[in-house]
Symmetry: D2
Subunit: 471 residues, 4 copies
């Protein structure tokens, strides 16, 4: 359900020690492309200095052979971006690369800080300048501010951050991989077949470069990759965990291992649970490709209703499709998904999808199925209704646009014009993952935010006399 | 199984009477993109003259807003191309547009002529020149040669063609849609919601523009679309039909209605038949995405073995992926498809795919599944072994590269290193389609060619008295 | 005076025997870029087959390193094009490359045929087809038609052409360079420092690749370049010569040797003669850059009036300048040329330019000089008024747009709002070149056309017995 | 003499109050393209916020119609860049746009700061970060640092700068145009025909948009353009002036009025003075196009030796020319300039050029003239030998590459293989401009630097306790 889902924030990747780092990072970003299609970038270190290339678009559009060839180095980091903070323009593409008293640093960020605005205000008051509108830039200001006064400036800088952050820093001599104390976003440590250490948002990136998964980066942990190998330190005690359950529902690649579970397996379980919660008498289960496929398989297995492919996606429709003139516009929606009347006509079908955000696209698709002759449409959604904004890295539309924000399930069913509708319960959803329910953030469904999003704080200390320095 | 299958030849499209013809043709070509990704083109008529734009690449790469805006006209034709004859360069992109004694004509061709070389030789002997290496250009020479001497020069020209051809001609005042007397390639007639007539290779293109399917163009029929509506004439008696069974096995879009059957339904039946012919005791059926998905569903339904998604495709890997350096190359294959170990490990799996051509990519994938821990791999292919070249529009590799050309099934099984292997029988395959077995061409499997491909003929009569026609 | 002059038709280039032919041809085309900026192309032969790359735009835009690297061969031809016949689109770019009974041939053409339409009609009657709207394509039809019936089909084909043509043909085994019997357009033979033979429109292309000028290709001569060296044959007696005097006035590069004279020297003489014909009492001679520079130097030397640079061109303004909105449009003209008030203000100036075609741009520039404070403007033009169309390769605008077509000199002076105006006389102009006056075509000034442009003829003989040749 | 001269630093432009500001700025940048071809950019204000577009390449490459259309606003600034500090990459392109406590600001800079490194060090010590390697970024840090503590933070910030700077700042509500107290680089105030105020590096930009020159921005002056019109204030007393004489010798457009003189007139005088200082018995004066043209005219007028165009430039050779393979490389130099043997052969010629930097290209050209047959070559250069680096905005090569750094005139003559060589004397040069000799910086010739370039200073006050704030 392209263009209507919450958009995934970002993917990060880091690799130390391989002479062909840029190529492997490129491959890793390709594997994580689903985490952000707005911009991509790679920064490399040759041991002495950094070099970076970033650009708008897909990994395949940003990098060419000649660009990759110029990114020589023995280590590097990469980033797939979908903007959550910062508007969509080239200047905000990551990794951000900056110079400061400690030399050069590049940083790639997956997550969202809730106190970035406050911190930025503080820094602007002190005379600092900002060239992006990202929350990431403030992290480098913090790092720079503490460089001379603290033994471990990174640890110090991180004390000031509130929110979700899986960060990969590239310095000339090391990579520092950081996961916030709540563990909102995934971050994993791996090792290539030829013995180089790497970090990534998802294990699918390791598979792509033939690396093996070693372990998760722990919430509150900094892992350093360098010529001396891997080392670890803590910058904070782990907080009550807040792992984003939406990674399992929709975002992460099905083959990735996220928060201790393989995504595909979780999604099959969500489908099974859905069948238990909301059984229905029907002829076929029809998956919504590709997001509902795993849950549909689970639903079919649990219910015993056969699964058939009744909706065919067009793999070529993307950002570049030129919208037809007004009159033909509604027809063009059919280009993305095509119903197969011979499967659907005169049948009672269970359509399984992962989530509903705005509802308008879902409605269009339900109409399409109806036109193809479906006798009954029973829609099953493998998560609860999305009712609240996410402040930790998922780019849902405004609450005003969330169909579930002000409608109950029956009203949504009427809007979608389906015969029955069921959303998986919160408990049902949480029963499908391995860790205890309290380990997950499900605020978008439940409103239970781990941090006080209404009142972010800054611990930056700004004595009045300090401003005198600018005489 | 990208890059290893026989490549589909082409898609054609035509639309008469709509002021926004170019936009609708563009949408139709998008829907038929799977039929050819090498080049694309549109030619339009404003009633007086023709204008065309063709280019190398995907429809989305060839056309921009400004290009479409310049293609004003009330009618037009379009083409998706994958080269079968003619090398891969811009000059061979279609529609071909030419001037001749009858004015301007543009033509889009799906198929392959077996006597094009002979005809070209004849014409070169007479002093004609050729600017492409396509078999299509010879058709226009035939049309031009008969323009003055014959009442219906198109009908006359078509007498000379041997082979497969679904053709759409654009003249200033009409479209002529032609299907060869054997009916090798599909060609269908439709009508838009606002009453304009159209033709396409596949019904999926009609769905994309909101048109309804009217009927197939009959083998040996010419259908004319013009301001006077639709009219039909025959240029030849229908021959013993030779509808390409491979359209059902692999090429056509699953949601299209081809040769009287919906492709998706046929593929499910192929899977069911496969399960009947070659039952196996296994834990799961795993479809090879996306080509084996429908057959896998059929296999699962028939066998009762549950179907699970154990192989996840990366939707972003395409032509633009930059191959890594040699050492990492083998790893990059994993980028395209990712096995899910939690589904596969220690399991006996039935992998269902549509066909095997060269075998090398299949072998790599089987290894990938083995590394993911599969205990037993039972490979089931929903068509017989491909042993012979196609002369009628499918671009298989040379026989020397077809794995089944010189190996029996057991040898192939050994090469692929799977525990068991079964190809659907010819009879099994033909039992899954509605028409009688003798209606289909299956020469790539059986070697039973409808035409004497070793001895194409030219009926061009070069007696002196005939040459007078060129006065 | 960009955009207002008659546009030069084309430049051609050929080189045999050098392993890096494409690179040298590229350099030669660069040197001849002034002869056509619409499209460029190179075709090469590796001894067995031909390969070509053509495209719209400047040489620098059409060719990249990777394109040049693919044009491997031991010989090749190139073309700079400005369209005279054939509309401005990619399909018309040259060299045209075609297949015919003789194999492959590519051709580059500078000139214009007056009977191309007739010949095309003849061929269309016979059933031939045309894929371009150029007059060049008909030449290849002629070549193909005579291939089997004649010992020297090229010589035979050329019999049928009426008009101006400097042609370079590339066959797999040779280059054939042809100049029409009237010698309208230049064509010269040269030799590189390392002994390879070459032909070009202008000697400036030889200078660019370090080749030396050997001699002109004679009117009515075919020169063959091949592995056997250079050979020559005549295909026609030389006609009364008709060398285009406008090459000297405006088109050719000043450093080229054209029709036996160095262009720069001729232009200086035109300026001297202008000073003799029309002396004026003035403070400074001001050249119109860059077209009037040589004549202005001559005028200054002859008159004794000092020459000063009072008009400064902007070298960066080209095709890509984005026109400002209507209100600012007139101001943007000033971007191209900037008057220097300190040179011009309160001065009586003689402005020397090469020619006036439409007059509108000249008028704008005269106003610019007036605004810069010129007290008196005496405009001197180094050729007679252009009153007639050219049918032989110069793309003047329609007669209706030629300022001199219906205005006498006094009326033009009034239109331009200058204090005095003189056009060099026909006799004066012809006294500045070395050959006898009757050797030059000056029909655009005098109306004295060498061929009956109102009645082109075709000698194509279409008796039945001749058609037998096409067996 | 492309590619060998000192490279001009930059051009700046600003315009307040016109609804089509971006278009006019675009035109102004086009007119100033000679001041920097590496990158270009425009920032606009709509009264509330800023928007910018910058890119690598020529103005024509960086801006398209659609980009310009998005730069809506009532005011804006623009920049042409050639890097002096900061390496050549997209991140350094100007205008720089930043956010700070005062809101948004964009800045365009022509010049070079000698204490930028010191200031940057100071700021990095305080924890600031830098995202470019330009000296311009430090100016915004200064502005931001003084925003809260000072009534006029811009005036305060400028106190800290040492070196050459003509700056144009864009704030949402005003433009501030600043010229350093020494007046190294030009900066002029103008007004459009429809009454909008503007500033530019050179008056040629005013001519291009139809604006009139009002006056120079004074050294040490800030001029504010806003909805309230133009206002002025001083931020420093004017220092002993140091106007760059090289602007007159080579950099500025001939039609511009720079430092009170029209460049073209100054260059003619330089040529006259050269003839006085170093008369020679010769047949012709030959200008080196285009840089030596004005001086050659002056030399010819003074000496009475006729001036002839003996060297023809190729206008199409630019950055995009693909270098031929090694063997042909030396020949390709001839593509840029072509000698006219008929003018030069057997003649004693005086070649006039503006300056010699490295000497290698000059040597190649002298050889070219010799090969064209020149009997005697007398080279006259309209400035003294360049012996010292410039720290104020001219990008000369390293001293080690300056031919005059370690060679006397006779040694240079021998290297160039000319018959005689004369450089204009320092006194002679300074006698050609209107202002007193002490008003000009000529350190590149004389070594007389106005500021102690070996010991730049920073007045930034950094009390130790101030660093405590970063607890």
């Amino acid at each position: 359900m392209i263009n209507e889902k919450g958009k995934d924030k970002c993917g990060v990747f880091g690799l130390w020690g391989a002479p062909d780092s840029a190529e492997r990072i490129y491959t890793g970003l390709y594997a994580q492309q689903h985490r952000g299609q707005e911009s991509a970038g790679i920064a490399v270190s040759d041991g002495a200095g950094l070099r970076a290339h970033v650009g708008m678009g897909l990994v395949s559009e940003v990098f060419s052979r000649s660009v990759l060839d110029q990114l020589t180095g023995k280590a590097g980091i990469g980033h797939n971006r979908y903007s959550t903070t910062g508007s969509s323009h080239a200047g905000n593409a990551q990794p951000l690369m900056e110079g400061y008293i400690g030399g050069q640093v590049a940083v790639a960020h997956n997550g969202n800080l809730i106190n970035a605005g406050l911190l930025r205000d503080n820094y602007e008051q002190r005379g600092h300048i900002f060239h992006t509108s990202t929350d990431t830039e403030v992290i480098i200001h913090l790092l720079a501010s503490h460089h001379l006064s603290k033994e471990d400036p990174l640890t110090e800088a991180l004390q000031h951050l509130q929110g979700a952050y899986s960060l990969v820093f590239l310095f000339a001599d090391r990579i520092e991989a950081v996961r916030d104390p709540w563990g909102w976003r995934p971050l994993v440590l791996g090792q290539t077949e030829d013995g180089h250490d790497c970090v990534a948002s998802e294990t699918v990136a390791f598979d792509a470069i033939g690396a093996k998964f070693v372990r998760e980066v722990e919430p509150g942990e900094i892992i350093t990759l360098s010529d001396s190998g891997v080392s670890s330190r803590r910058f904070a005690d782990a907080q009550r965990p807040a792992q984003c359950i939406f990674e399992h529902v929709y975002f992460a690649n099905p083959s990735s291992r996220v928060f201790g579970d393989t995504v595909q397996i979780v999604r099959e379980k969500l489908g099974r649970k859905l069948a238990q919660e909301s059984p229905v008498d029907a002829d076929y289960v029809v998956p919504m490709p590709d997001s509902g496929r795993a849950a549909a398989a689970g639903f079919a297995a649990e219910s015993g209703i056969p699964c058939r492919e009744g909706i065919i996606p067009n793999r070529y429709v993307g950002r570049t499709f030129i919208q037809p003139t007004q009159k033909q516009r509604s027809l063009a929606v059919q280009l993305k998904l095509n119903a197969v009347p011979e499967v659907i006509a005169d049948k009672r079908i269970v359509v399984v999808d992962d989530s509903i955000v705005r509802g308008t696209t879902t409605r269009t698709k339900m109409h399409q199925l109806r036109r193809a002759g479906a006798k009954e449409i029973h829609l099953r959604i493998s998560c609860p209704p999305v009712r609240n904004p996410c402040y930790f890295g998922i780019d849902f539309p405004d609450s005003s646009q969330l169909i579930a924000a002000k409608r109950d399930v029956e009203e949504i069913r009427e809007f979608l014009e389906v015969d029955s509708l069921h959303f998986l319960s919160l408990e049902g959803m949480l029963s499908c993952v391995s860790r205890q329910p309290e380990h997950y953030c499900h605020a978008c469904f439940s409103g239970d935010y781990r941090l006080n999003v209404a009142k972010p704080v800054s611990k930056l200390d700004l004595e009045p006399h300090q401003l005198k320095m600018f005489r």
